[in-house]
């Protein structure tokens, strides 16, 4: 590997994607930087590759919560039970992904590298809006892949250090970037998750309340959507929940997420029985004790 030096008139600047295009065109092409390499417009049946499912984000009094379930599906099979869909983009932002897992994880890696690269080369951190726009460009360059069934839909959320607020950005296939005021959820169970958040959302919630609402939204999504994984106390797999506030990105420990699930169930009056009947009478206490035992 030689030293990547460029004449001043052809310098790629702080863009890692541009540097990669010059140093390793193959890697850049793989990431869709060579737009037009694949035919846009030919829509084919979705390839049988792992797909990530439900992700959600919501704002609270001093930050944002980002959460994602752990399941990846391949057609009607479960491809992975423990896949991660929520990542730190940098110290003060998080990115969550839904869609084709392969390209999604590659885009996240590229995005993380790009943010850090910019920071090191320029000696300054990009604004939150700048980061959101960078991600939009990467999603845009994935359009040819998306047309072939390998769509990637991210959620981007972070702490805006200049304005002192948490902000959430959503995207579409074409790299369209939209700012949400309070919350959003996407992926196969996104609709159920979003409805749950919508019903429970209040302005200026505390961190705990927001985390619990996020956890409940994933629980409801898993309840309705086959491709969304719920809490799995048997294997000890819980959704990933992260917060971003003025202290930066913080991923919650599994134990804390498990505690929030237990609280959600308790608030709903214990485990639900098939047919929508609540566990009632004297049995509820036994059921809750059993559940608590499983999750500890």
């Amino acid at each position: 590997m030689s030293l990547p030096l460029f004449p001043p008139t052809e310098d790629p600047g702080p863009s890692f994607v541009a540097v990669l295009g010059r140093v390793d065109p193959l890697a850049a092409g793989r990431l869709g930087a060579a737009v037009g390499a694949s035919p846009v417009g030919t829509v084919v049946a979705p390839l049988s590759v792992p797909h990530g499912t439900t992700i959600a984000a919501l704002r609270y009094s001093d930050g944002v919560v980002v959460a994602g379930d752990r399941r990846a599906t391949e057609g009607v099979s479960i491809a992975h039970r423990g896949i991660e869909k929520v990542f730190p983009a940098d110290r003060f932002s998080a990115v969550a992904i839904a869609g084709a897992a392969g390209p999604a994880i590659e885009i996240v890696r590229l995005f993380q590298t790009q943010l850090e690269h910019y920071e090191k080369v320029e000696g300054a951190v990009l604004s939150l809006e700048g980061k959101a726009n960078q991600l939009a460009q990467m999603i845009r360059s994935n359009l040819p892949m998306a047309m072939q069934g390998l769509a990637v839909i991210p959620l981007f959320a972070g702490w805006d250090r200049r304005r002192g607020v948490g902000r959430i950005f959503t995207y579409d296939l074409t790299g369209g970037r939209y700012e949400e005021t309070d919350f959003h959820a996407t992926g196969s169970g996104g609709r159920d998750a979003k409805t749950t958040i919508k019903l429970g959302f209040r302005d200026a919630m505390s961190r705990d309340q927001a985390v619990q609402l996020a956890v409940e939204s994933l629980y409801q999504a898993a309840d309705e959507d086959a491709a969304t994984g719920g809490p799995d106390p048997v294997r000890g797999i819980y959704p990933i929940v992260a917060t971003v506030d003025k202290g930066g990105f913080d991923r919650l420990a599994d134990l804390e997420v498990a505690g929030h699930f237990a609280a959600v169930l308790e608030r709903r009056g214990g485990p639900q029985r098939p047919g929508g009947r609540q566990a009632g009478d004297g049995h509820a206490i036994d059921d809750e004790a059993a559940l608590g035992g499983e999750q500890s």
């Binding site: 890697a27 590229l110 850090e116």
Partner: protein, 238 residues
Amino acid sequence: MTMPYYVAPEQVMKDRAEYAQKGIARGRSLVGCVYDDGVLIVAENPSRTLHKVSEIYDRVAFAGVGRYNEYDQLRVAGVRHADTKGFAYSREDVDARSLANVYAQYLGQVFTHEMKPLEVEILVAELDDDGSDHRLYHIAYDGTIVDEERFTVLGGDAEPIAQRLEHSFDPNWTLGAALRACVAALGGPDRTLGPEILEVGTLAAGNGRRTFSRIVGDAIASLLAEQAGGGRPAVEQA
């Protein structure tokens, strides 16, 4: 038709070396050393924004003396090299040795083949995973590379500064003790350097994945004011 004068290769190299040394000697010097928690780099630099000491990668830092535009170009190339490598392979595959070699190749190439050598000396420092075997690669304008394990001095006044530091050096000293010794060595007997003309960077294990951090302003002042052998105040991270 005019014939070019014959100049002996020895003379060419000597002239280029002198030219580069003169350029480097115009700027202020810089010290890199190990301490109990990692690597410390101290530079005399009156500018708050035009840095001599910077981050390259998770465990690798860069420092340069001489012409700013030339070492900054090398710094950016180093960041590009490291980020590309880390992206293509894995973060743990990025190491200072390979980067230092690439720098040495480039500086050597320019020194022998170009009209003008680069008027820079650079330092590539690496924090060791186990915390015991940190590396300081000192690369000169002609591509000469030296691998130090204790401390190294870059710049025109390197000799006397290194002699002063040799007396006080202790591999297990604290950040404060190391900083005070480096500042004293940089200043010499006649000058006292204040926080306003110092640029300080560290690679320390406690900083998380990205181990580089800058120590600025009051944090430098309090470390300098700390009594030798006394307690260690909390270091404010930039």
